[in-house]
Symmetry: C2
DNA sequence: TCTATTACCTATTAACTCTAGGTATAATGC
DNA sequence: GCATTATACCTAGAGTTAATAGGTAATAGA
């Protein structure tokens, strides 16, 4: 039974990639910097993390690509498809649900 | 370079185990049910997840054990050591930091 | 007596992340 | 002119964790 993300955890790189690309299309290298910047250096995923995420999201139809050469360097711009928007909404809901469940447990005064 | 938890993610089972055991000692089977109950059935980690977590926490000195036979069935009660309390505080701080970073990014109006 | 529940456990598989590379062009410093 | 850094892409392999799928044994209940 292959689950898209592990039942509860992980999927944070994917969530952030979809979130940032929802604002505007970006190429991989740009995204890596954008995540670092958006998180005030709290989070930093290396290229070796981001590129595979981009490829698998594209394979799943969540992202579409456009190739462009700028200053002699080839860039691959990614943008979010309708499928990708759905995927993001699902991931976000999932994350928020998990987060609030954990917060509740952690803050509970005492567990019988 | 072996990291205790992956740099950012995971560690949720461990966090919950330490949190619940901080309230009172429990045995493994009981913990599995307690997590499910505390989360209102939103989270459920199978025994195959919880037992290995307990064993590795014990190996690390975060939990101590006490064996007792009740109704002919042998139980292993776990309780949190001072090391375990530190570990929990670290994990919690880590989790909350991650969570708030992600929340900020997700809610941001627009990313340049 | 047969099944479900309690209570423990491990091994294998799967998933994801992280590190560590590797290629190539352009820009910068010396 | 040459070396280094920055830009921009990529993949393979390792490491960690979680999920599944078993397996043992005793008790309780139907």
């Amino acid at each position: 039974m292959p689950t898209t993300t592990s039942q509860f955890l992980n999927g944070v790189p994917e969530l952030l990639v979809l979130r940032l690309l929802r604002d505007k299309e970006m190429y991989g290298y740009e995204l890596v910097e954008a995540i670092r910047a958006a998180s005030n250096d709290n989070l930093s995923f290396a290229e070796g993390v981001i590129y595979p995420v981009l490829h698998s999201l594209e394979r799943d139809g969540a992202l579409s690509t456009r190739r462009q050469t700028v200053n002699g360097r080839s860039r691959v711009y990614y943008s979010v498809t309708p499928t990708g928007k759905d995927r993001f909404n699902d991931l976000l809901a999932h994350w928020q649900h998990l987060q609030s469940t954990i917060a509740t447990i952690v803050k509970a005064p005492h567990h019988a």
